[in-house]
């Protein structure tokens, strides 16, 4: 296993510029993990949605560290701004308070250890797979860039067919959501 380190200084000190960037990255990852823990473990669904928003805010920071500020902005806009709010409205329109409390039904006794072990198994398996694989780095051409301009050009030339298809999917989702939510209203 060789770590793929591209940094000019492989071991930055704590108070250099790279060190502060590293601290910010660690805080971002901590935000992701904290949000995921809150979203998965809390009994109240409103808190779970708050955890989802926190986790996706941290994930936007992770995308920023992966050299894509456009995707970070899209993550904030779509997930934090739209999907979380949509789920929050769904909760407000459908659940009475404290719907997900444990103990009053009979399957929940087995579900906790089973879910914990299966999730830990997936995490361990994928982690070992990612850490032990010899990843092959493909050489990147000199003029290759990943900024917004390049993304826009590729989206409208190479991937224009998928772009049109995804717009059709979104249109169908809008119409389908309207039809489904309207059915049964008297």
């Amino acid at each position: 296993m060789q770590p793929l380190v591209f940094s000019p200084t492989p071991n930055p000190t704590l108070f250099s510029v790279e060190g502060i960037v590293g601290i910010i990255f660690l805080l971002t990852v901590a935000l992701v993990i904290f949000g995921a823990l809150v979203a998965v473990n809390s009994h109240r669904l409103v808190r779970a949605v708050s955890g989802l928003a926190i986790c996706f805010t941290g994930l936007a920071g992770v995308y920023y560290f992966l050299l894509s500020p456009f995707l970070a902005m899209m993550q904030l806009l779509i997930y934090v701004g739209a999907v979380s709010i949509l789920i929050a409205f769904g909760i407000m329109m459908s659940t009475p308070e404290q719907q997900d409390l444990p103990g009053n039904k009979h399957i929940s006794k087995l579900a906790g250890p089973l879910g914990c072990s299966v999730g830990a198994l997936f995490f361990a398996g994928f982690s070992v797979l990612g850490l032990n694989t010899q990843w092959q780095v493909f050489p990147r051409p000199e003029n290759a860039s990943g900024d917004i301009e390049a993304v826009g050009k590729v989206l409208l030339t190479t991937h224009s067919m998928v772009f049109e298809l995804i717009s059709i999917v979104l249109l169908l989702a809008i119409i389908g959501a309207l039809v489904l939510a309207r059915r049964g209203r008297n």
Partner: protein
């Protein structure tokens, strides 16, 4: 400190993606309401997005292709969330509950 240089390392992002996937699977099994399961499935999609972005940053010859994939995943996730929420509202209108155990009879 090696710990401060983690953001330049592919394996960090892969482990983070695996962690999100594990949380998603755990939530899918443990949650008993439809909305809780929907939230957990968002984590699985986020794990896939994180992996695509990491491979895009470190390995791929074209630095835009992973971002395109992640954009499409976001669009699909938005469509999926809207459909699922409308299904939840329709189900709640019929059953007065979104607990998956109360939704046993599907024949109408």
């Amino acid at each position: 400190m090696v710990l401060l240089n983690l953001y330049n390392c592919l394996q960090t992002y892969l482990v983070l993606g695996a962690l999100l996937f594990g949380f998603g699977v755990y939530g899918l099994i443990v949650r008993r309401t439809i909305i809780g399961m929907l939230i957990s499935s968002e984590f699985i999609l986020a794990a896939a997005s994180t992996n695509f972005m990491a491979f895009n940053r470190f390995l791929a010859p074209d630095p835009t292709i992973g971002q395109i994939f992640t954009l499409f995943i976001m669009a699909i996730a938005a469509a999926e969330a809207s459909i699922a929420i409308s299904i939840v509202i329709a189900v709640y209108r019929n059953y007065k509950s979104i607990d998956v155990e109360d939704l046993g009879d599907l024949q109408g």
